[in-house]
C-alpha cells in the first residue's frame, strides 16, 4: 500500500523534509521482492524492510542525496544513490536486485569422513597492481558435518580452496593433511573452476583432503653464542592464493637449534626464526632471521638460519616535490604485511624525512599528498610504492617523488541502455590512461554510482581516463579483470579527457549484449 506523501513546511532556514519510497524488484523480471532490509543513509541512517509488495517507505529525510543499501536472503546486496532535488518533497525509486549465487559442499578426509573447522575459501582471478592473480573472495569454516556454504556471490568463475584445521581432523601439533583446491588438487594449476550463473546454487562442491604428502623441510637455527632462548619458534608463512601471506603454525626450535617441518605442500614460503612469542608482533623481536623458500616435490634439508640481534633501522630519505606540493603535505608510511604495523615517516619542511623502527620483513610503501600524486617511492633503489618488497635490515635510503595534481574537476553524465532507458545503481569506473584497475590501485579513482535517473556526478583530477560502466556493482572487480568486458567497453566508450573548468556532460550508452 502506498502511503500518502507527507510534506512538512519548516522555517526557511531548515532543510525541507522529504519522503522517499520505493520498490525492490527482481532485475530480470520486475517481480516485487518482500523481506529485503533497506538502510537509507541520508546523513543519519534509517532502517526499513520491504513489505509483501516489495515496497519500502521513509519519511522526514533532510538531505540532498541518500544512499540506499538493500540486502536480503537470496539476493546480492545493492546500493542505490538517490538524488533529491531542491523542489522534491517526495521521491520514488525502483531498485533492481540480482539473485545471488552460492557454493556449498562438504570437506571430507581420505575415508570420506567429515572434516570440521576446515577453512574454506572461495577465490577468483582478479587484478592486483596490474598483475592477474588468484584472490580471496570470502572464507568460512566447515561445521561438525564438514559442511560449508558461501553465498552472496555474483555470477562468475570461482575456485574453492580448503585449509585443514590446525593439526588436521585429529588436532595436535603435527599436521598430517595438506591444503587442497576443489576437488582434491594440491596445486592452483590443477584447481577445477566452478562457473556460477546468476542465481545458481552450486551444491556438492566437495573437497577431499589427503593425509600425508608434502615434503620435509629441516635445518638448524644458529643462535648467538651463549644465548638459549626461552621460547624459540620457527614460523612458516605461505603465499596463499598467489599473494597473501598466511601466518603458519609456529614450530618449536629444539635446544640444539634443529627444526623439522613435515608434510609441507608445494608453494612459496617465508621462514622466520624468532625468539618472539608471535610471528610478527607489533614490536620487533629481540632476535630473528627470515628467508624465503620455494617447496616443490623434494625434501629440503640443511637449511641454516643464522639468528642475529634484530636490526632496527632508522631509514632516512628525501621527498622530491614537483609543482606546488609542499613536503609537509606529504604522508609516507611503510606497512608491514603480516602484522599490519604501519610505520609513519616524520617529514621535515625541507623535504627530508625519517621512518624510525624499521626491522626486517616484508613491507608495502604508501604515499599520499594533499593536492599531489605519488610517482615513486624507492627503498634502496627498489620501487616499493603500493608494492611489496622484502627489507633485509641493511642500510637503505628512501626517495619519494610527488607531483602536483590539478584540482579535481566535476565530471557529470548519464548512463542509459541501448534503448535509452536510464541505468540506475551502476558503477562508473575511471581508470587513468596507462594505469590498470586493481584492488589496491595506485591510480584508479573510486567508482561513481548512478542515481535513480542513471545520472552521476564525480570529482576527478584533470587527465585522460578510460571509462567503464559495470551494471552490477557487486561484480565490479570481476568485470574489471575480464579482458572481454574491458575490450567491449573500450570500444563503446572512447578515452575521456578531463580538463580544468567545465567539462561537457557525458552520455554513456551501454553496448547491447
Amino acid at each position: 500500500m502506498r502511503r500518502p506523501t507527507v510534506l512538512l513546511l519548516l522555517s526557511s532556514a531548515a532543510v525541507a523534509q522529504v519522503a522517499l519510497e520505493g520498490d525492490a524488484v527482481r532485475k530480470s523480471t520486475g517481480e516485487p521482492l518482500p523481506g529485503v532490509r533497506v538502510a537509507a543513509m541520508c546523513g543519519q541512517t534509517s532502517w526499513a524492510a520491504t513489505d509483501a509488495a516489495g515496497h519500502f517507505y521513509f519519511s522526514g529525510l533532510a538531505a540532498e542525496s541518500c544512499m540506499l543499501s538493500l540486502d536480503g536472503a537470496g539476493w546480492l546486496p545493492r546500493n542505490q544513490l538517490v538524488t533529491i532535488g531542491p523542489q522534491d518533497t517526495h521521491v520514488t525509486v525502483q531498485v533492481p536486485m540480482t539473485p545471488q549465487a552460492s557454493i556449498a559442499g562438504k570437506v571430507v578426509d581420505e575415508s570420506g569422513w567429515p572434516v570440521a573447522q576446515a577453512s574454506v575459501t572461495v577465490a577468483h582471478y582478479g587484478t592486483d597492481n596490474g598483475v592477474r592473480r588468484m584472490q580471496r573472495v570470502r572464507s568460512v569454516e566447515t561445521d561438525d558435518r564438514g559442511e560449508y556454504r558461501i553465498g552472496k556471490l555474483p555470477a562468475g568463475r570461482y575456485y574453492v580452496r580448503v585449509r585443514p584445521p590446525e593439526g588436521g581432523p585429529w588436532g595436535g601439533n603435527q599436521p598430517d593433511y595438506q591444503p587442497a583446491w576443489y576437488p582434491s588438487a594440491a596445486d592452483t594449476a590443477d584447481a577445477r573452476a566452478i562457473d556460477l550463473r546468476e542465481g545458481l546454487d552450486a551444491a556438492g562442491i566437495d573437497v577431499h583432503l589427503a593425509r600425508g604428502g608434502g615434503v620435509e623441510v629441516s635445518g638448524r637455527v644458529i643462535l648467538p653464542d651463549g644465548y638459549q632462548p626461552r621460547q624459540g619458534y620457527l614460523y612458516m608463512a605461505w603465499e596463499d592464493l598467489g599473494a597473501t601471506p598466511v601466518p603458519g603454525t609456529g614450530v618449536p626450535i629444539a635446544a640444539d637449534g634443529s627444526f623439522a617441518l613435515r608434510h609441507v605442500g608445494p608453494g612459496k614460503y617465508t621462514l622466520t626464526a624468532s625468539t618472539s612469542y608471535a610471528l610478527d608482533n607489533s614490536a620487533p623481536p629481540r632476535y630473528m632471521t627470515t628467508r624465503t623458500l620455494v617447496v616443490a616435490g623434494q625434501n629440503i634439508d640443511g637449511i641454516s638460519m643464522n639468528v642475529a640481534r634484530t636490526a632496527v633501522r632508522e631509514l632516512r630519505g628525501t621527498i622530491v616535490c614537483e609543482g606546488g606540493v609542499k613536503p609537509d603535505q606529504v604522508r609516507i608510511a611503510l606497512q608491514r604485511r603480516i602484522s599490519a604495523v604501519r610505520l609513519m615517516a616524520k617529514v621535515e619542511p625541507d623535504g627530508s624525512f625519517v621512518i624510525p623502527g624499521v626491522w626486517p620483513g616484508r613491507y608495502t610503501g604508501s604515499v599520499s599528498a594533499d593536492g599531489g600524486a605519488a610517482e615513486s617511492f624507492l627503498l634502496g633503489g627498489q620501487e616499493i610504492l603500493n608494492r611489496e618488497i622484502d627489507f633485509d635490515g641493511g642500510e637503505a635510503s628512501l626517495r619519494v617523488i610527488v607531483k602536483e595534481r590539478g584540482t579535481p574537476d566535476r565530471v557529470s553524465g548519464a548512463v542509459t541502455d541501448a534503448s535509452d532507458r536510464p541505468v540506475a545503481g551502476a558503477s562508473v569506473v575511471f581508470v587513468p590512461s596507462g594505469a590498470t584497475y586493481g584492488l589496491s590501485p595506485s591510480g584508479t579513482v573510486r567508482p561513481a554510482s548512478t542515481d535513480q535517473n542513471g545520472a552521476f556526478t564525480w570529482q576527478i583530477p584533470p587527465g585522460v581516463y578510460r571509462v567503464y560502466v559495470v551494471e552490477e556493482p557487486a561484480e565490479t572487480d570481476q568485470a574489471m579483470a575480464d579482458p572481454d568486458f574491458l575490450r567491449t567497453q573500450e570500444k563503446a566508450f572512447p578515452p575521456l579527457t578531463v580538463l580544468g573548468g567545465e567539462n561537457p556532460r557525458l552520455k554513456l550508452v551501454l553496448p547491447s549484449n
Binding site: A49, P77, S111, V140, K152, Q228, P229, A260, R342, A474
Partner: protein, 433 residues
C-alpha cells in the same frame, strides 16, 4: 660331602626344566584396546584410532565389529592414543608409556555423542541476518575460574563454549556440544561475512540472548541432552538509548596532525560500548543503553596509527539513564612515563626480560629489558595495570616481587594516574618456587 639322593637329582632336574627359559627383551611394542560408546559401553564398530608416538608419523587402525583394535610393531616411546567417529565428541586422548618392560599397552577409549544447537537469526522485521556470531554460553557463579568470559550480569559469569557464524540465509549450527544448559547469544557488532557490499551497522541492534532478550536473566537456557539436536531461532532485539555529548578539553594548541578519540567502556552488564564521534573538540555518542560507563579520551600523534601511545588522556565514570546527557567534559592531562628497574637477587645471573603491562581491554604494552635492568614505559593510559614478567632466555628466574614505590603490586596490580612516574621495581629470583 653328602651325596644327593637319586630322587633329589630328579627333583632338581624337573625344577630346572620347568623354570622358564630366560626371555629375550622384546624389540617392538604394541597397543590394543577398545573404542566404546561412553553412554552404553558398547563398542563402536568402524571407529578410527590414531596412535602418535613421539615425533614419529602417526599410525592408524580401524576398530572391528566389537570396537576392538590392535597395532603392533611400535617403537618404545611415549604414545598418545585417540579415537574418533562421526557424531561423537572429538578424539579422546589417552597416554601410554611403552618400554621393554611394558611393551603391550592396553587402552579403552570412550567416545560420547555430541549435541547440536542450530537455528536462524533474524532482525526485528524478520529478515535473516548473515555474518553474525552466535555463541553457546554456559553460566557459572562469579568468582569461579573459567576461560572465555563473555558476559557478567553481576551474579553469574557467562562463558563461551562454542561459536558459529550465520550463513547468507541467517542459519547457524553450533556443534559439538556436551550435554548441558546453554544460553544462546548473538553478537550484533560482528558483521563480517555478509557479503561484498555489507550494509551499515545498525547501532540500535543489540547483542541478544535467545530468543529475543537483552539480558540472560530474562530468558531460559537451552537444555541439551547427550546426542540431541535442538533448534533455537533468535530475533535480534533493537533498542535506542541516550545520546551523550561533551567536549575534550585541552586539545587546543595540540601538535599539528594529532587526533583524538573517545572510548565508551561499559561497566554494567549489557552496556553498549564503542567509540564516540569526535568533531574538533566535541564528541557525541548515540544510542547508549542505561548503565555505568567509563568515558576515556586519548590524544595521539599523527603517526600513531594504532593509538598505542597517547600524548594525553582523560578518564571519567558516568551513569547513563534514559535521558540524553550533554556537557560531559573530558579534561586531557599528559600521559605519564613510568620508569623502573629489574634487579636480580644475589646469585642469579642477569638476563634480558620481557615485561607485559596489561591493562583491561587494551593491547598489552610490551617492553624488552636488557641486562642493565633499566626501562621506561612511555605514555601509559591511566588505569589499572598488572605486570607480567619473564626471562627471555632459558634462565630459571621468575619475578618474585613487583613494587610501585613501596607497595607490592605483583599479585593485585597497580593504578596509573597522570601523576604516576614510578619507580616500578621488579625483583627476579632464581630460587626454587
Amino acid at each position: 660331602m653328602r651325596m644327593l639322593s637319586k630322587s633329589a637329582w630328579l627333583a632338581a632336574a624337573i625344577a630346572l626344566c620347568l623354570q622358564p627359559a630366560r626371555t629375550q627383551a622384546p624389540e617392538k611394542a604394541s597397543i590394543a584396546g577398545d573404542v566404546v560408546d561412553g553412554s552404553t559401553g558398547r563398542g563402536i564398530s568402524g571407529a578410527r584410532v590414531r596412535i602418535q608416538c613421539g615425533q614419529d608419523d602417526p599410525l592408524f587402525a580401524t576398530a572391528d565389529e566389537q570396537g576392538g583394535f590392535r597395532l603392533t610393531g611400535l617403537n618404545f616411546r611415549s604414545c598418545q592414543a585417540s579415537a574418533r567417529y562421526p557424531g561423537f565428541m572429538g578424539a579422546q586422548e589417552a597416554a601410554l608409556q611403552l618400554s621393554p618392560s611394558s611393551p603391550d599397552g592396553q587402552v579403552r577409549l570412550e567416545l560420547r555423542h555430541y549435541a547440536v544447537i542450530e537455528g536462524k537469526v533474524t532482525d526485528t522485521v524478520g529478515v535473516p541476518v548473515a555474518g553474525v556470531a552466535v555463541e553457546a554460553l554456559q553460566r557459572y557463579p562469579i568468582g569461579e575460574p573459567h576461560n572465555g568470559y563473555i558476559y557478567n550480569d553481576g551474579n553469574y559469569q557467562y562463558v563461551g563454549s562454542q561459536r558459529a557464524v550465520t550463513d547468507d540465509l541467517g542459519e547457524y549450527r553450533i556443534a559439538p556440544l556436551a550435554a548441558g544448559s546453554y544460553y544462546i547469544f548473538v553478537r550484533t557488532g560482528s558483521y563480517y561475512a555478509s557479503g561484498p557490499q555489507s550494509q551499515p551497522f545498525d547501532a540500535r541492534a543489540r547483542n541478544t540472548f535467545y530468543p529475543h532478550s537483552l539480558k540472560p536473566s530474562d530468558t531460559k537456557p537451552v537444555e541439551l541432552a547427550e546426542g540431541k539436536q535442538l533448534r533455537a531461532d533468535v530475533q535480534i532485539a533493537r533498542q535506542g538509548g541516550a545520546r551523550l555529548s561533551g567536549r575534550i578539553l585541552g586539545l587546543t594548541g595540540a601538535q599539528p596532525g594529532s587526533f583524538a578519540w573517545v572510548r565508551i567502556i561499559p561497566l554494567s552488564p549489557g552496556g553498549s560500548g564503542g567509540f564516540a564521534k569526535v568533531t574538533g573538540d566535541d564528541f557525541t555518542a548515540a544510542d547508549i543503553l542505561p548503565g555505568k560507563y567509563i568515558l576515556e579520551a586519548g590524544q595521539f600523534a599523527a603517526d600513531d596509527m594504532f593509538s598505542q601511545n597517547p600524548l594525553a588522556a582523560a578518564r571519567r565514570t558516568v551513569e547513563v539513564g534514559a535521558e540524553d546527557a550533554a556537557g560531559i567534559d573530558l579534561a586531557l592531562a599528559p600521559t605519564p612515563d613510568v620508569s623502573g628497574t629489574v634487579i636480580f637477587e644475589s646469585g642469579c645471573a642477569a638476563v634480558p626480560v620481557w615485561i607485559q603491562l596489561q591493562q583491561d581491554s587494551y593491547t598489552p604494552r610490551s617492553l624488552h629489558v636488557d641486562t642493565d635492568g633499566r626501562f621506561v614505559a612511555q605514555h601509559l593510559f591511566p588505569g589499572q595495570y598488572k605486570a607480567y614478567v619473564q626471562p627471555e632466555t632459558l634462565a630459571n628466574t621468575f619475578a618474585a616481587s613487583v613494587k610501585l614505590g613501596d607497595t607490592e603490586v605483583l599479585k593485585d596490580g597497580f593504578e596509573v594516574t597522570a601523576e604516576t612516574t614510578g619507580p616500578l621495581r621488579i625483583a627476579m629470583s632464581c630460587a626454587t618456587r
